[in-house]
């Protein structure tokens, strides 16, 4: 049996089947070890898949041996491989670091259930990515969403509950909109396979239902992806979730919805519909710009560490969307690159926040005084990831911002205005990251916080590795860059 041929299916099946088994591992620590081993295994599968698609190939898999348009197809290309790396990498990194923080936040007897939900989120997210079937994507989207509601509400903070309820409402409406869109397309084309849809949409005579479907799918997925102004669920859900859950979800959950959005708009709708290119760009670009500016401005005045970072996440989604809205090779590869780099930077920042949260009960900025003396390594890692978020040369964030600016300049006179937006928002990022640095390094410590020491070595080590990766991929960006470029080529080719 050729194991390599079954990797796309194993990528989903391994975490999904281990999720119920983890529940049985009741003794303390075993559930964590099991979940981490499974996450590492899926990361290894993702790496193997990436190697297989690195030269621009696509790995296809027919579930149950049924051929593509009739059976459920899985497919992995450069774009999905990059997302797979981000999702499995974030899940693994967060789990490796998670134990001390989870032990502190979640009572021992509920931990196996918690880790099981974690693996369900993972399998749902990778399921969305490898799926080449519109309805299958919906099912996996709901698996990952339902499980992530459980993760977010699992912590000791009661404010997480109303936040999750709001997320559940908005997430379900988003998924239902997506379902309506898929139904309308199925009505007109008679297929659910994405590649088949793309081929058949050209033959549809009455284009109106397809236009409506494009609207429903774009809005539905924008809700899931927290595109401005549909981001209302993000700040509270990220702030009050258990700290390690925030690391995992902030690094990848919204980006997977963006991935589906990009897939649909480029592979299925773009250029098959009259003027869709312009409609899509004109619809998305203002939202992206508003999102970048307003969310960055909000982040500048936020007083709570995690909430500040959550606002910044909404702005970063704006950057990704801005590159997508250029409908160009450079824009798409900049966006894809930014998905990867932002996951690194924001994952690192939230990991450092989890380190701080392990010692400080209260993460409001005015409570964090003196942290640099008590937790020097955490603060150093925070600064490195913060620089990457701003886009300082030598860090990963610089690469994608530079690519984004280059892509913006291709738009002629308009381009300069867009460059101004990117530069102003980067300055805003300097301001909000500086506010945290000021609190960590220059603020007088609060009286009660005398005995605080460095976070447990387990979290610290992972945080340090992620910080180093931020620098590593700033200097040697070849692998993600190659993936991003062939992803952009695939997306634009798919629309022709």
């Amino acid at each position: 049996m050729d194991l390599l041929a079954h990797l796309p299916a194993l990528q989903v099946v391994v975490p999904m089947l281990s999720a119920p088994l983890i529940v049985l591992l009741q003794p303390r620590g075993l559930a964590w070890a099991g979940a981490t081993a499974v996450a590492l295994l899926s990361f290894a599968i993702a790496v193997a898949l990436t190697v297989a698609v690195l030269d621009g190939q696509t790995v296809e898999y027919a579930m149950g041996g049924w051929p593509a348009p009739y059976g459920i197809a899985l497919s992995v290309d450069a774009f999905s491989a990059l997302l797979l790396l981000v999702v499995t990498g974030a899940a693994t990194a967060a789990l490796l670091a998670a134990k001390p923080s989870i032990d502190q936040q979640i009572e021992a007897k509920r931990q196996p259930l918690f880790y099981s939900a974690w693996l369900l989120v993972l399998s749902g997210l990778v399921g969305i990515i490898v799926s080449a079937d519109a309805f299958n994507i919906f099912v996996f989207m709901e698996i990952s969403s339902l499980a992530s509601y459980i993760l977010i509400a699992g912590g000791p903070d009661r404010r997480a509950l109303p936040a999750v309820f709001k997320y559940l409402m908005m997430g379900t409406i988003g998924a239902t909109f997506y379902l309506i869109g898929v139904g309308l397309i199925y009505m007109m084309t008679g297929t659910l396979n994405l590649a088949d849809m793309e081929a058949r949409i050209g033959d549809v005579t009455d284009i109106n239902p397809i236009l409506v479907a494009a609207g429903f799918i774009t809005i539905g997925l924008a809700l899931k992806a927290a595109v401005f102004p549909l981001h209302a669920w993000v700040p509270n859900a990220y702030t009050h979730a258990p700290h390690m859950v925030t690391v995992f979800l902030a690094a990848c959950a919204t980006k997977v919805a963006l991935y589906v959005l990009i897939r649909f708009d480029y592979m299925v709708f773009q250029t098959k519909l009259d003027d869709h290119e312009i409609q899509f760009a004109m619809f998305v670009m203002p939202l992206a710009i508003l999102g970048i500016m307003i969310a960055s401005a909000v982040a500048m005045f936020e007083g709570h560490l995690k909430r500040l970072l959550a606002s910044s996440s909404i702005a970063q989604i704006g950057y990704i969307l801005l590159g997508v809205s250029f409908v160009s090779m450079a824009g798409l590869s900049a966006s894809t690159m930014h998905i990867f780099n932002h996951a690194l930077a924001k994952g690192g920042l939230f990991l450092a926040a989890a380190c701080l949260a392990y010692q400080y009960r209260d993460l409001r900025l005015n409570q964090l005084g003196g942290a640099s003396v008590r937790m020097p390594w955490t603060c150093a890692a925070f600064v490195v990831c913060g620089l990457s978020l701003i886009g300082v040369p030598g860090t990963a964030g610089f690469i994608s911002k530079w690519m984004l600016i280059n892509a913006a300049l291709e738009n002629g006179a308009w381009g300069w205005a867009l460059v101004a937006v990117i530069l102003v928002s980067s300055l805003m990022a300097v301001v909000y990251i500086w506010r945290i640095v000021e609190a960590l390094y220059f603020q007088e410590p609060i009286e009660g916080n005398i005995q605080i020491s460095e976070a447990p070595i387990q979290i610290l080590l992972v945080t340090g590795i992620v910080a180093v990766l931020n620098i590593y991929f700033g200097i040697f960006p070849q692998v993600p860059l190659e993936l991003a470029n062939s992803a952009a080529a695939l997306l634009l080719e798919g629309s022709r």
Binding site: F135, F138, V139, E142, L146, Y149, I150, A153, R158, R159, L161, P162, V164, F165, L168, M169, T172, I173, A175, T176, L179, I180, G183, Y186, M187, L192
Partner: protein, 119 residues
């Protein structure tokens, strides 16, 4: 478009109305249980849309019989799809209700504005 054509789309009109009713309840109600009811109504509208589109005029259940030739069948695929979507809807609803139970335990109320005031 004449009246008969309009009536011919009866199921789709009902779909649109139910969808809006559900969405309205989700947005306007402050009681969390009522919000969930709205969400459920909203989702069932989509079930109706899928069930409607599989109907083929004069079609029957897709079961192949030995002695019958050239039988017209309704499309079974949307029914299968919506069966899955119903399961998703049920699990969403039950998870939502579980959240409401925990909110009620922690806050002592399930009115949205009172919860906001409590924090």
């Amino acid at each position: 478009m004449n009246l008969l054509e309009l009536l011919g789309y009866f199921n789709y009109w009902v779909f649109a109305i139910i969808l809006t009713v559900g969405l309205y309840a989700v947005i306007s109600k402050t009681n969390l249980i009522k919000k969930l009811i709205g969400l459920s109504i909203f989702q069932s509208a989509v079930f109706l849309m899928y069930i409607t589109m599989d109907k083929v005029e004069g079609g029957t259940a897709p079961i192949i019989q030995a002695d019958v030739e050239d039988q017209i069948f309704s499309n079974p695929l949307p029914q299968v799809l919506i069966l899955t979507a119903i399961v998703v809807g049920v699990s969403t609803l039950s998870l939502g209700l579980a959240m409401v139970v925990r909110i009620s335990e922690c806050y002592g109320t399930i009115e949205e504005n009172e919860i906001l005031d409590a924090d």
